[in-house]
Amino acid sequence: MEKDTHLDIYHQMVLIRRVEERATELYQQGKIGGFLHLYIGQEAVSTGLVAARRPQDRIITAYRDHGVALNVGIPATQVLAELLGKATGMSKGKGGSMHMADVERNFWGGHAIVGAHLPIAAGMALADQYSGSNGVTICMFGDGATNIGFFHEALNLSKVWNLPVLWVCENNRYGMGTAVKRASAVDEIRQKANGYGIPNAAVDGMDVMAVRQAAGEALEKIRAGEGPFLLEALTYRFRGHSMGDPERYRDSSEVKKWQENDPIGIYRAYLTAEGLAIEPELDAIENSVEEEVQAAVQFAESSPEPAPEELFTDVYAA
């Protein structure tokens, strides 16, 4: 892998972290409304997946979507503008935190009904199979989503039709406040794929290189026509489920333990240990991200509100 690629990956992970830290402040100031589900702690998963994909590979995820949005290259300006509900957001301020997408960048959202985007991902994979494209659809979802019927209908269909889809479960140990063990009949989520004859693997979701490697291998198998694959990324969310989560369901010692495994720290240590980057280079990235985010916040805050007539546009395409 090229050095520039490494530095770009580092940049992406730091960017997600800083954008969300600023978003937290903006939320506390009342400038962001609704829900705000932070990705902090899980950055290695989306970053590794996007690093492994080819341009023709679609990616679709749940409401915890700021990471993917920034990974695929949506400028932080647009991400923050969407969070502030501004006309310059990628969804014109109509979607908000949970509904980010950029079709041009093959990022298909941002879906807020748990599990509902899994059948949709199967349909997009079907479209690629139907039209002879060699694209693979990467579909991310939480551990909680594997308990809803949509997951099972989608996995079954994907195998029956041999669809080119990479199912990625981000097992961050909780669905809101409910631990995996309390909600799922099996706590090793990937076992569920066995019931559908879908090959599967687990990966350390705090290690961006491991995610990239595992996803890359899976994508090539799928691209070769081997059908769907399920990857379980073992990860952890460092913050509450959304804003204002009292976190009664876990000990702060557990959170602390995981924070020692910070995906950005792990990657930084890897880059320096392997001689792929030196500390000053990485510090320079951190500084440039600070400036980038600062400018993006300014852009978002000074952007216009959607025009009143926007209320009625886009209800129908025609």
């Binding site: 994979a125 139907y130 025609a318």
Partner: protein, 323 residues
């Protein structure tokens, strides 16, 4: 003009659109080898092959959800739900995904999907298999809802639905597949979102659609023998609702009755009556009446079932009441 059945008209629409556009395909339970549970896609599997006529597992959320995804990715899927009663298992995808996708992402995504399904009671199938919940689906902005009452409209509207860039919920009626009507040989489309006068008259206006059209036209025939001429307006599309011909008609006749098969409360009749009083209050000489299904889950017993469903006699009675 040839007189063909509703089944043939719908089948022709699907066939012609599949011949015309490679992106159009059908998926659903028993649409392929079986030929469709209402025999609408008979012969399709052999002609178009399993890629374009896809038998699915019994998984309604996946049938609609995969249709949405394929549509977003540029195909023109037709997701068939065996009957509308099973659409409830796909409700999330119809309501939360198909109807919202275009708006919620600021116009970035399109869902040119047709969900074809079959509704209606009267066949002694019991409460779970006899519903006419059309109004439920018509409640959601972002979805288009079509329910034709003649073979001509069924064919033209289905072709328009397949070419539409928006998701269309297309409701056929289980007891109307044998209804015959004139359908031209040449190609034509019927635009979505236009109501139509199916029978002109001066004394009162009946507003109806789907199976209600059949009852209303029969009632109009009976009333004509007594010298009462009713105008029958067929909504054809429930969303977007075209009130223009309805209002114009009521302005001429000053009396209105809404006829539908679904339950009265919160139904199509409730909406149309409200719109009439908003848009033509000064023209009304009588309250707007509704003929609709009794407020019970439909029973199996034939006599009980028929007494719960609207009858031609109910329509005749309602018209006389507003005169």
């Amino acid at each position: 003009m040839p007189r063909i059945t509703m089944r043939q008209a719908i089948s022709q629409a699907l066939w012609e659109e599949m011949e015309r556009d490679e992106r159009v395909f059908i998926m659903g339970e028993e649409v392929g080898i079986w030929g469709g549970t209402y025999a609408v896609t008979k012969g399709f599997y052999d002609h178009f092959g399993e890629k374009r006529v896809r038998d699915t597992p019994i998984a309604e959320a996946a049938i609609v959800g995969a249709g949405i995804g394929a549509a977003m990715a540029g195909l023109r899927p037709i997701s068939e739900l065996m009957t509308v009663n099973f659409a409830f298992s796909a409700m999330d995808h119809i309501v939360n995904e198909a109807a919202k996708m275009h708006y919620m992402f600021g116009g970035q995504m399109r869902v040119p999907l047709v969900i074809r399904t079959v509704g209606g009671g009267g066949r002694q199938l019991g409460a779970t298999h006899s519903q006419t919940p059309d109004a439920v689906f018509a409640h959601f902005p972002g979805l288009k809802v079509v329910a034709p009452g003649t073979p001509y409209d069924a064919k033209g509207l289905l072709k328009a639905a397949i070419r539409s860039d928006d998701p269309v919920f297309f409701i056929e009626h289980a007891t109307m597949y044998q209804v015959r009507g004139e359908v031209p040989e040449e190609e034509y489309l019927v635009p979505i979102g236009e109501s139509k006068i199916q029978r002109p008259g001066r004394d009162a206006t009946i507003i109806t659609y789907s199976k209600g059209l059949d009852w209303s036209l029969k009632a109009a025939d009976q009333l004509a023998k007594e010298g009462i001429e009713v105008e029958v307006v067929d909504l054809r599309t429930l969303r977007p609702l075209d009130m223009e011909p309805v209002v114009a008609s009521v302005q001429r006749t000053n009396r209105a009755v809404v006829v539908e098969e679904g339950w009265r409360s919160y139904g199509v009749g409730a909406e149309v009556a409200a719109r009439i009083q908003e848009e033509a209050f000064d023209y009304l000489d009588a309250p707007v009446l509704r003929v609709a299904q009794k407020e019970v889950p439909l029973p199996y017993n034939r006599t009980l079932e028929q007494s719960a469903l609207p009858q031609v006699a109910d329509v005749v009675r309602a018209v006389k009441e507003v005169l």
